[in-house]
Amino acid sequence: MTVAFTPPPSPATLPRARALVSPHSIPALPRHVRIQYDPVRQADAVLAPEKVFWPNDISLDILRRCDGSATVSQIVAGLAAEYDAPEADVAADVETFLQEWSDKLLVKL
């Protein structure tokens, strides 16, 4: 049997250091995480390996904006406008949330 040579995973897919959230980070959901509406329970679920999460509306709003193009500061500005809340407060909440989700590898920064 010949075993085809496949290169090792590229550094981009193999995080060697913990990612830290900053206003310039561009968050995205990794391939193995998705938001999906569940018609049986009539709620949005986040599906991940061996886990199902039921985030509240604000968390879902943050996750939906993690589209791989908006920066954290753009996400914060959008949410502050939508919820009519001070940007500094929103920024603190969003950054804490994203750091937590990044630490669980549920969000890429």
Binding site: P8, V52, L105
Partner: protein, 376 residues
């Protein structure tokens, strides 16, 4: 009566066929041959019913699920319904192009078992020459196909010292997740308990190593730690509570609350096809036997943790207390808790006194029948 919720997760044991012979396999000791397996249409029909019922995640397992030639078709059907699919594979003997085809069909995630972090250990435990290299190749193919990867490491006496090497292996393969899963003593693992049980000092060191690695690798590698029941203070909420949010289906379509449930003799199980999945989930006496908290005896009945660990594992209560409705003896509040420590000691003594050519009763069809003949 506890409110009946729809199930979230389902384990599908598509086949009992497997190239490996791991002595702690969670399949029943009486394995089903290929001619008992459900056909493609029936699995697809069952999966559609599961999605209708509220199942969000399906774990495709075995035996070795890739031995089913219709796996891509089944994955594709599930993906079409938005069900999250997880392939649980030994990663041995997978034909070229198949991982890619599964990714193409919509597979969400792949979980690959490693019996050892070193080739010699993997070969000893799986009783399969060359298995380690084949697994490494499967991991590479999965990553190249863009699939996220979990490395699953079932832990016991013969590989517990390799926990740091398992962590390095998972990192080197680009895995997002590592399961350090201490073997649960049901099925084949119960048969091999004396040969598999680690000693207390090593278990405690393992816990420290895992704790340190989790801290150090935050945001790099998720490490899930399935703790060893026999050394525990509180039991695990097995299956998240009996028939509470998950179930499993055997290769012949028998629907069970957990994969070891057949070890409880008073329960009878129903087959998909005779009844719908919804009917079985709601009405099956086996599902209702230990659902909620009404069935509980003392000390579970009045325990403040009764809806945290749901009495622990029914199969472990059966195996050790001889009563499936007893408190799991893994719990410090169980009157039989001291028996766990005794079983650990007995296992150490028995292993020390043994000098067999094969350290285990390997998992293979007919192995139990041969063992019974030897004993008689």
């Amino acid at each position: 009566m506890t409110e009946l919720l729809p199930p979230i997760g389902m384990l599908a044991e598509l086949t009992h066929r497997c190239p490996l012979q791991c002595p702690y396999c969670s399949n029943p000791t009486e394995l089903l041959k290929a001619n008992r397996e459900l056909d493609t249409e029936t699995w697809a029909w069952l999966f559609r019913q599961a999605a209708d019922l509220g199942v969000l995640q399906v774990h495709l397992s075995g035996g070795e699920p890739t031995l089913r030639r219709d796996l891509e078709q089944l994955v594709s059907g599930l993906a079409g319904r938005g069900v999250y699919t997880n392939l649980i594979t030994a990663g041995v003997g997978i034909a070229e192009g198949r991982i890619e085809a599964l990714a193409e069909a919509g597979l969400d995630h792949l979980q690959l078992s490693f019996q050892g972090a070193r080739p010699t250990t993997t070969e000893l435990v799986s009783n399969h020459a060359g298995s380690h290299e084949k697994k490494l190749e499967t991991a590479r193919r999965a990553r190249a196909a863009g699939l996220p990867l979990t490395v699953n490491a079932p832990i016991h006496r013969h590989n517990i010292e390799e926990v740091p090497a398992f962590i390095e292996l998972a990192l080197s393969l680009g895995a997002e997740r590592l399961e350090i899963a201490n073997v649960q003593y049901a099925g084949w693992a119960l048969v091999n308990r004396d040969a598999l049980m680690p000693d207390r000092a090593t278990v405690e060191r393992q816990a420290e190593i895992v704790e340190e690695a989790r801290e150090r690798l935050t945001g790099i590698l998720n490490i899930d730690f399935v703790t060893p029941d026999y050394f525990a203070t509180y039991p695990k909420p097995c299956m998240g509570g009996w028939a509470r949010d998950a179930f499993m289906v055997a290769p012949d379509g028998t629907v069970l609350p957990c994969h070891a449930a057949a070890s409880i003799p008073q329960l009878t199980f129903e087959k998909f096809g005779d009844r719908t999945l919804a009917e079985i989930w709601r009405d099956s006496p086996a599902f209702n036997a230990f659902r909620g908290t009404d069935w509980m005896q003392a000390p579970c009945r009045s325990c403040e943790r009764r809806e945290i660990d749901w009495g622990g594992c029914r199969c472990q209560a059966m195996a050790i207390a001889g009563d499936a409705a007893a408190t799991d003896p893994a719990c410090a509040k169980s009157p039989l808790h001291a028996r766990m420590a005794k079983l650990i000691e007995e296992a150490q003594a028995s292993a020390a006194g043994h000098d067999r050519a094969e350290p285990f009763v390997y998992r293979r069809i007919g192995a139990m029948a041969r063992l019974r003949e030897l004993v008689e």
